[in-house]
Subunit: 498 residues, 2 copies
């Protein structure tokens, strides 16, 4: 979840002021309404050392009526807390109806900070995750709104901040030996944090990763999300009360905010990466020979492989699949194209048809489009409800974890091209009688929804790039480059296993 | 869950015929409606060897249109299945909308049968439970109705059945060495089954323990539950469609069925157990001395204890608490009486006030009435919704597991008296000016709901008597007997730990 985030987000002072001037009074009004309606809210701040949790909290509470919130700083357990079950100190700090409790670090200390300093065995760690999930689930089922932030900065940024703090005599004391120790372990902690985020990213209490390089940007984003989630919940409650959709208050968007504040993944992709035809041919030949050999070994060692291809229309999935399968023994692989579900498929859970197609040990299944349709086309076209696609991230992660637990190598590719390149390819297809069949009116219609897809894909990659089944983003404006990157990734993954 | 069930249930042939004559056509009609409405149903049969799963399934499908259901017998994985992830064979067998799939053994094989024959390590076992839960949760969220039965017989009954099968040349082949091997392990498997049931008893897919000693009784009970759950779901769907409660079809009860078919716990309790005053005094003095000593040791070893007392009004909780606390150092224990929640408590999750009162290490908290009010008085008086009390069983189990994970000894007592004895005690209180304060109009009103309470208590004890925090039922018509049993249980539990 963390690796994919583009951390280069910022706001100018002017932009910040302008946005805050609109946002703050709106947030204050929402707090009043939440109090009146008796909505309990918990806001959790986790993140790297020196990522600015304190600053974020100060700015968040600025517009609020101080009678309505309370801030808790969660440090190591005191003696009283240590003599109680782990969750005791958090249960006793849950907000009453209408109140907002803000946590500077939280119950996640248990699986991160404590785990860093004195690692627990696997069994105790699993139990801790269990307890955390049941805690959030119970409160959420009871009506508490849980908003979780992870403040994310790069290792370089962290170093810069620690040094700056040390330079001033006023702030020097804030930097401890432990801070530097943790800094040195940045790379080791990254997968640990990723694991934490993916284990506890639930549709009823999702994580929001905040790009915290720029404090102004981060502060606006945090407040936008808190305000948005409170507003959404109040709207739901209002709709329930009046038992009619008519009463639903339109959710006011602050103009431009949503686009600026979105966590992006695709934006940072350099699609211009390219490769000469000569290099391509050489690499292709080498890689395909390796693949032939590796398929054989994979079969003997009974290792199953899933290759999942997603990407824009005309991004080059077909060509990539061709290069991937050319060297393979057809008895050992299958290509599964995914079209709109037929009637029998529609009568089942959306994952059913993909489960049926999963490879057996020693075999490879290549999916040309996949189960991710749930959180792209089905989300955008409204073929499923918001609740359905929101919970799909976790359902999909669970399925992929089932696969990897069994030993399946799961490789997921997103083929990224830019919008102009797509247009060029569409026109090329229109003009070439041999390729005309490849392009339909629907492709043109989907193209009109480009921005909606970007938003869905960004969220998809973020929430489903797991430690056990990460996405590979393929820069695909150059077909040569893209095909080689895919083949290389497959070859590397197989070699690593064997 | 299994130990508490009274297995002595049966029906005469006539009763069976009469009940089936009414039930079967109703069930058939419900199947047709479920098909028309597109409701997918999964029925799971697990249970002891020779508990009659085959018979139950034959009888269940009797009234059904064979085009609407399919029966799957789940044996050891074949090669194809073994070469796929564990859940693959079950995902591929999920029912389409409107169909009913019945499983003779199921995905629970993984954590029981396979576990018996070739134990997995803890990590793999935990993963299997995880997968099972996510499988059921995903299907259930998608609209599949999941109905799970555990056919329960005693070890004696199992032995009788295996011997009978062996005696006949026609059925001899059905008894294998493994059956006898498993029979010999009956006592070892009991906690394993209990663990399985408590790990996977979810409000969206609860377990139904079937007293399978008498096949007629069991068959009627199974069909009653399947029909009842389908009917309930159809009613919910109808209510949703018309967005109004008016359209809700009254759930037709077959007269007398519910009472006959209920799994009972309290019925089997012999409240007449008694003790002479002389014996009482002797035992009390010994036990109290031990308690004084044990409290000291408990304090030094930092062991926390929770004693939870529930029971009928006038069952003798107060007297028992007095005898329990007399020998204790008041600095080491606290008695927490539980009344109706005050305003601040009402503004929080119902478990919040109990979490706050939990003892710290080395201390004892005695609850006079407890969090179980959620599934008794709040259920019966409608202070919480059906969805709320149904999910409370698991929430409560999770809280108690949090406690026991931390090292708390959790002891739960249900004080059982019969209805006449209660009346006698009420009248005694009315007549004694010293005791009049103890009896209120509310006590008399609660008494009128005796049957509703019996039903709620039976279900409560069944669903919350866990391996880590079991209930102790105290036969309390004799106060002497009851007090001694409670003290003995506390002393034994403390001794076991120390």
């Amino acid at each position: 979840m963390l690796r994919e985030v583009d951390l280069n987000k910022n706001l100018t002072k002017n932009e910040y002021k302008e946005m805050m001037d609109k946002l703050a009074p709106k947030f204050a009004a929402l707090q009043r309404e939440a109090r009146a309606k008796g909505l309990p809210v918990m806001v959790v701040f986790e993140g790297w050392g020196a990522s600015g949790k304190g600053t974020m909290i100060s700015r968040l509470i600025q517009p609020l009526d101080p009678r309505g919130f309370k801030v808790f700083t969660i440090q190591a357990e005191n003696e009283e807390e240590h003599m109680h079950p782990f969750l005791w100190r958090f249960w006793t700090k849950t907000p009453a109806k209408g109140r907002m409790h803000i946590f500077d670090r939280s119950w996640y200390r248990r699986v991160i900070t404590e785990q860093m300093d004195a690692p627990m065995d696997q069994k105790r760690l699993d139990a801790a995750y269990h307890q955390i999930l049941s805690f959030e689930e119970q409160l959420s089922a009871d009506g508490t709104l849980i908003i979780k932030f992870f403040l994310h900065i790069s290792a370089d940024e962290q170093e810069k901040r620690l040094k700056k703090l040390e330079r001033s005599s006023e702030t020097k004391w804030r930097v401890t030996k432990a801070d530097w120790k943790h800094f040195k372990q940045y790379k080791a902690y990254l997968p640990m944090y990723d694991h934490m985020l993916e284990q506890t990213d639930m549709s009823w209490a999702p994580w929001h990763v905040i790009e915290a390089t720029d404090r102004e940007y981060a502060a606006v984003k945090v407040m936008t999300i808190v305000a948005g989630m409170i507003e959404e919940r109040l709207n739901e409650e209002n709709a329930k009360e009046s038992r009619s959709h008519l009463a639903e208050r339109a959710q006011e968007e602050l103009p431009g905010t949503e686009e600026t504040m979105r966590t992006t993944v695709l934006d940072g992709v350099d699609v211009s990466l390219t490769m000469t035809k000569e290099d391509y041919k050489k690499r292709l030949s080498v890689l395909q020979k390796e693949l032939t050999r590796l398929q054989n070994e994979m079969y003997l060692k009974r290792i199953p492989v899933v290759v999942a291809l997603e990407g824009w229309d005309a991004a080059g999935k077909g060509g990539a699949i061709k290069r991937l399968t050319e060297p393979l023994d057809p008895r050992g692989y299958e290509v599964v194209p995914t079209a709109a579900p037929n009637d029998i498929e529609k009568a089942h859970h959306y994952l059913w048809r993909f489960w049926r197609a999963m490879p057996k040990d020693g075999h490879m299944t290549i999916f040309d489009r996949t189960w991710y349709g749930r959180v792209m086309v089905e989300r955008i076209e409204g073929f499923c409800s918001q609740a359905e696609w929101r919970r799909a991230y976790r359902e999909i992660n669970q399925m992929e974890q089932n696969l990897t637990d069994h030993g399946v190598i799961v490789l997921k590719f997103w083929l990224q091209i830019d919008k102009d390149e797509q247009e060029r390819r569409f026109n090329e297809r229109m003009e070439d009688p041999e390729k005309q069949w490849k392009i339909t009116d629907e492709d043109w219609r989907n193209r009109e929804k480009w921005d909606a897809y970007v938003k869905a894909v960004d969220e998809m990659i973020l929430r489903t790039s797991t430690t056990y089944a990460p996405w590979t983003i393929v820069e695909a404006d150059s077909k040569y480059y893209a095909r080689i990157k895919i083949l290389e990734t497959v070859v590397r993954a197989l070699k690593n296993r064997i």
